[in-house]
Structures are given as C-alpha cells and as structure tokens.
C-alpha cells in the first residue's frame, strides 16, 4: 500500500549545502532520503515546499514522499530521527491525500531574516547577520513599506532565477526590533530565487544610507539593481512556516513572535 507522507523538518542550515542533493557535500534532501532508505530499504525521492540555499535554516519545512512500507506513521518521526544527523530533525510525520504536494499545494510562505547589531561576534547568540555599522530603523521601515504589495520583483532575484512569473503580491514586509536583534518578516505565496536575501540587502543599504528612496524605487519599478546591493548572507535567513489552507494562511499572517526565533 502506497501512502503519501507529509514530513515537517527543522534544520540548521550551516551544516548543509542547502536542500537539493548534489555531489559536493551533505544536503538536507540526501540526509532525509538516506534515512528513509535505512527504514524501507528502497530509494524514494522527497519533495520540499522550497529549496533552501546553502546555509539557510528551516524552522518547519514541509516535504512529501510516497511510503511503501508498513511502519505505523506515528513511529515514523522518531525512527527517521534515529538515522538523521544532529543538524536535522523530523518534527512530525502524517499521512496526507495522494494528491497533496508540499510545493504545489502551498499558498503562503513565511521567511524571517535576523540581523544582530553588534561589534563583536557572539558565538552563543542567535543565528543572524552581524551588522556593525549603525542602521537607521526608520529608513529600513520605509524600504519595507515600498516592498510590500503587488510588484514585479525582477530587481530582487538572482541572475540564475528561472521563474517565469516575477509579479507577486508580497503580503507582508515588516521589522521587529528586540534590543540589538532585528527580525524582518516576509510573507508571500511564493518567492523568487534569492529574493528575500536581495530584499534584505536593499533594506540594509537604505538603513546604512547607501541608497535613498528614489534609488530603491528604481530597483523596484525598473529592475535596476546597483552593484552595491548585495545578497544578504544565508546565516540570518530561516523558512519559518508554510501554509496550505485558508486557516493556515491567516495564522501565518497574524504571527509576529518576538525574536530570536532561531
């Protein structure tokens, strides 16, 4: 009997070369597929809601695969965790309808980016991009307001992005400060490749005074991204949650936990 299984995964991205299997080193996908193989004896392909890049974290990444084994689904999470490395964990496993697809069925994605305003490194601090130079929060908030809404986000994607649809409705782009820690939340049905990291790079460039509102609008409306805008580093980025129905979508839009979240 073939059962479609939804897994919810948490991982520390610093231990992996991203989600997608590759030959150069450990990936989350390989780790999960190997663990499943240790239980079932057969190779299966696991599909995630999104393919995170090298170094990017996930607090709750949904994924699916088809299980051809009699193990009770209630035991699957602990059994898989037994075979997984420390940096990744199956938070839950449940049976879903055969047509359910972790990527295609998703209607809301939430990414959070953490920035630590500190001069010295904090090895026990939260996972974050450490920014030493003073950031103007008003300018950052202005940048986020300009990003929110319905736009063509071509100016905020990597040159390798293959997505045909670049017009998206960014339902939320907001900043929460907790002492020296800033959290920037982005909520959207889907994102382009490197879109969150380029948006954060742009928001920080505004916060540092490197670009002004007019320059920002040129990126947003004309897709003209200047060289000085960098792709924010992966260690501050985390996929927080993915929503599949209207209830989950609303739950995500209402969620604003105080950082640190990861």
């Amino acid at each position: 009997m073939l059962r479609r299984i939804k897994l919810t995964l948490q991982y520390d991205g610093s231990a992996f070369l991203g989600w997608q299997s590759q030959e150069n080193g450990p990936t989350v996908q390989s780790a999960i597929e190997t663990a499943i193989e240790s239980i079932t004896g057969g190779h299966v392909r696991v599909h995630a809601a999104g393919r995170t890049d090298t170094g990017v974290h996930a607090l709750a990444m949904p994924a699916h695969f088809d299980l051809e084994h009699t193990i009770p689904v209630e035991r699957l999470a602990l059994a898989l965790n037994h075979f997984l490395p420390e940096a990744v964990s199956v938070l839950s496993a449940e049976e879903v309808a055969p047509a359910w697809d972790a990527r295609r069925s998703a209607i809301m994605r939430w990414y959070r980016y953490q920035i630590l305003r500190a001069r010295v490194r904090q090895p026990l601090g939260p996972r974050a991009w450490q920014v030493w130079h003073p950031l103007d929060l008003d300018s950052m908030n202005e940048a986020l307001t300009l990003l929110q809404g319905d736009h063509d986000f071509s100016g905020f994607r990597s040159s390798q992005c293959q997505s045909r649809r670049t017009r998206l409705t960014l339902e939320e782009a907001s900043l929460t400060a907790a002492g020296d820690l800033l959290a920037i939340d982005f909520k959207c049905r889907s994102f382009l490749h490197h879109m969150v990291r380029f948006m954060v790079g742009t928001v920080v460039a505004m916060g540092l005074g490197k670009i002004d509102r007019d320059r920002m609008l040129l990126i947003r409306d004309k897709g003209q991204r200047p060289q000085l805008i960098y792709c924010a580093p992966p260690e501050g980025l985390c996929l927080m949650q993915v929503g599949y129905g209207e209830d989950e979508r609303k739950e995500i839009l209402n969620a604003h936990p105080t950082p640190p979240s990861f």
Copy 2:
C-alpha cells in the same frame, strides 16, 4: 612595559575539547594563546576563571594574561577576534592591576544548566539537555532546596577532583521554567570538578522519580552517590558570569533572566 589584561570570552563549547590546552584537539586556551601570538609574536600563557570541560559553553568567561606589546587595549578585542575561530569571541579586553587574577580574585561564579523537555530533537532550539520522560518540577525544586546552603559536596564531584576543600556554601540553586525549557541556576564562590553536572543529574533523577528525598540526603550528607546518578551531559551547561567585587557578587545573586540564555 608589561600590562596585565583581563579578557572576557564567549564560546560555544561544542567546538572545543574544553578550556585547557591538550594535544588531542582544539581547546579554547590554545585558540586564545595562538591569537595573541599572531599579534605579539611571542607565546604567553592565558589563565581562565575556571577550566570548563569538553562541550561546556561560556557566556562571559574572564581570563588574564600579561601583554608585552604596544597595541592599545581598546583595539585588542577586535584584533584578537580577527585571528580566532568563529566559535569563540573576545567580548572585551581591559587593563587591570598586576595582581589581579581571573581565578584567584573571583568571589562568585554562576552556572546555568538548560533542559529541554521535548520528544524530538530541535536543531534550531536552545543548547540544552533534551529530556523526553516527564519531569516533576516540584520534586526538582525540592532537590534544589536540599542542595542550597552550606554542605560538604563530596557526593557531587568526579572521582578525579583534586580539591581539598569540599565544604562550600551554595548560595543559590533554583529552577526557572519557560514553556518546555527549564533553566537551573547555581551560584557559589567556587565549584568542584563536575559538581554542577552531578547536581543536575541528581535533580533530574528526583524529577524522574528514580530517587527520593531520603536517597538524596544520603548523597548530600554521606557522599554516597548511587550508580544510577549520572553526570548530566555538557551541552546544557554554561558559565554565565564570574564576579570579583561585592557589587558584582550582588549583581549575580539578583540575576534571574528568563531562558534561553544560550
């Protein structure tokens, strides 16, 4: 001109085989001494307030050494961090009196132990000992009350401990719960080898119902530690702060931050 320097260090213990230099792998002491050598060109010995074991973290570990170099002390922290691995950081550097000694001048030490009550691993969660079986907090609090105060702590040290003075005044042994995360704080002038981890092992044994109050008193008053008491794992332990004057001692005794702290 020889200057005595106080460093305050933060480190993630999972990256080191403890504080003290040894041949088998990386230690915090070697990392700091190598970084100093990169600046001054000469080898110096660095002395810490305490020698943490393999895997134990430090939020603010004081240490001292004698500097024979003209670098301004204000630049020392950033200069050292440039040469240090990511898992350790110099939070601050300051000149102190020549007789000041990180270990001998200390009059108060604060260790915190974090326990996560969870069934599945949380790679993005706080550093903690993950305990799956239900813990009775009332029993744990009772155990902590029995530990606090003036006792001979011979029953809570490793067989390798060489300390002659085993009678100590444990000024605080307390529990703070924040959801699934528990933090146990111990504050004392000095600690014996493995003392915090054996105390936590005993408190958890009470919380699991493996030992009762009478058995606990046998350990405390007769030094008879049963085989079933284990030394709690290092990943949940962190040196929080060390105090050197009456003001710092009081500040530490009054500090009770909500976990997670690391």
